[in-house]
Symmetry: C2
Subunit: 351 residues, 2 copies
């Protein structure tokens, strides 16, 4: 059992409160230098560290944050988590990690458990539109920040990218390469990224004067498997698309696998664009053209926004929106994977 204030008090022949004050460097404490000396030595000898649980009960602050995501084995969320920890850890917070696998029920149950644990705040990257769990967070006055996906527009602190713009530049890139039939592996209409990236796609098609064709949109969800399934559907059409914009890199990976299995060459027979620029994207052969977003920065910015709420005690609706940037690789332009590695330009943040 670690040493307690009470035990130290006995050994130093002072009151426990005095030990506490010395340990916490209470500036209002006037104390005989010799007594302070004695206590400080004792503190060092015993390596005293206040019991965080008792401290948390008294102070009503646990210095624990939580990150709730679909799945940490997706590289996107791993990078996001690092951003959060790198932002929060230097300021004394520890971070809990909860995976939902996209299940609203698991999300709900995790949030209840985190609330019972009195975490100081929650970063949520798994929300859907009009998410009951997010509304519950607001109702409970639990400091929270949504990342990547929002729930009710403008109602919560949020960090993400301009998904309409991202969908637009991705699709416009394909238009400019001369593609006339461009398919879209679409996210769900219940998720903000799904709705907005699709809107960007449709906008670019409209701008280009190409005919809109609903048959070119296949809902893939956000999994590699879903991407494979939806791509198979598009690529089996009589008049199949020569290019595909996928709502995420993982769905794009599924599409590439299927294309290859169908004997189609990338990019000659079908060009593919993803979204997020996860580390995997540049390692594929050919490299995956994708919309770069600063994932690590998402996490760090979310941590900042969250700690700000915790420290001021006020809920915030601040939004940090990063500018997405197209990164061209071999999956759309043959030879773009030249050995010389191109670095994505720094993204611009608006706060």
């Amino acid at each position: 059992m670690p040493v307690t204030l009470k035990e130290l008090a006995v050994r130093a022949r002072v009151h426990p409160s005095t030990i506490s004050r010395v340990a916490n460097n209470d500036p209002s404490l006037r104390i005989a230098p010799t007594t302070r000396q004695r206590i400080e030595t004792l503190l060092r000898e015993t390596e005293y560290r206040p019991n965080g649980v008792a401290r948390g009960l008294k102070l009503r602050q646990t210095f624990a944050l939580a990150v709730v995501i679909p799945d940490i084995t997706n590289p996107f969320f791993a990078a996001l988590f690092r951003g959060v920890e790198d932002g929060a850890s230097p300021r004394g917070y520890n971070v809990l990690l909860c995976n939902t696998d996209g299940s609203p029920e698991r999300q709900r149950s995790h949030l209840h458990s985190l609330h019972a644990r009195r975490v100081d705040g929650v970063i949520l990257a798994s929300s859907v539109l009009r998410d009951p769990s997010v509304r519950w967070l607001r109702h409970q006055h639990i400091p929270h920040v949504l990342v990547n996906r929002f729930s009710d527009d403008g109602q919560d602190a949020f960090v993400g990218s301009d998904d309409v713009l991202g969908g637009l530049v991705a699709t416009r890139h394909l238009v400019e390469l001369g593609h006339r039939r461009i398919g879209h592996l679409a996210g769900k209409l219940t998720v903000s990224t799904g709705v907005l990236r699709r809107r960007g796609y449709l906008g670019a098609i409209a701008d280009s004067g190409l005919p809109a064709d609903a048959a070119l949109i296949a809902e893939s969800g956000y999994t590699e498997e879903g991407g494979a399934r939806a791509a198979e559907q598009l690529l089996s059409m009589r008049d199949r698309p020569t290019a595909i914009f996928a709502v995420t890199d993982m769905t794009a990976v599924g599409a590439c696998t299927v294309a290859r299995r169908m004997g189609l060459r990338i990019p000659e027979d079908v060009a593919v664009v993803g979204y997020n620029d996860i580390p995997l994207a540049s390692r594929l052969v050919p490299g995956l053209t994708t919309v770069h977003v600063p994932i690590h920065e998402f996490g760090a910015a979310a941590a900042r926004l969250l700690m700000e709420q915790i420290e001021t005690g006020e809920a915030s609706r601040r939004r940090v929106i990063f500018n997405p940037q197209l990164v061209v690789r071999g999956s759309t332009v043959g030879g773009a994977d030249a050995p010389v590695n191109r670095r994505p330009a720094a993204a611009f943040a608006t706060e």
Copy 2:
């Protein structure tokens, strides 16, 4: 502010302890059915959930575990974490995640912080041999399990693979393919996996009757960059190796990148074997031959071993050692990546 026992007691006109007993389904409680009814309704209406911090203080159990790893963006550790959470979450534990980036100082500081927080136990995957932090965990009687790497042989609960055997089968595979000069990207001698996999490599070389050549061993550490650097050194030799066994998949990835940049074909000019079989390994082109270990199971087994210690209150030195299994892909055998093997990997990843 969430509702407390005291407030509920006032509303139900009973003593707080009675509410607590009803909420916890205390079997020794004899209570008038009508009173119980009244209390249960109140509990439901208010969605009462006991304050976990207060509960933790009283019960001396926080139902929080911690996972300490070098870096969650390494797919190996992401899969490991999932295993832990999947094992611990159904039993009511939440899991904290701490990244050390391989720094002993960060590891130490994280462990101190976790101890102050009174986590019920720690799963540590970043230990070195004779690790002072691990000794500190033992000294503090903090339930802990080491994963993948051990510190002092047999002194702690441990989950891992037979690293000597793994190094042996990987290297023997290259010998059997006819390679006579086989290089090794070696882990550090301060880390158990580094020492043991190297021992397996040396054993296979000795068994085959090939001459041992110290120049064929280059220390890479465990990063992709380290792998690239060390591989460049080996592949620049006059009498360069025709095959390389890398201590982990990530270092193997670094080696492949360098080989390609030097104009060497894989596997024709240089064959490469990794270790761990991270999800990335099967997606590379060519696929990476590697030593498969059940990463998710590592995490789940570690969680089991840890919860066992927590629940019995006794430290354990139990060891769970998995058998490594060679997986042959295109990085050592041309054509091993035949399309027929190329099902999309089972993916539960969402973005």
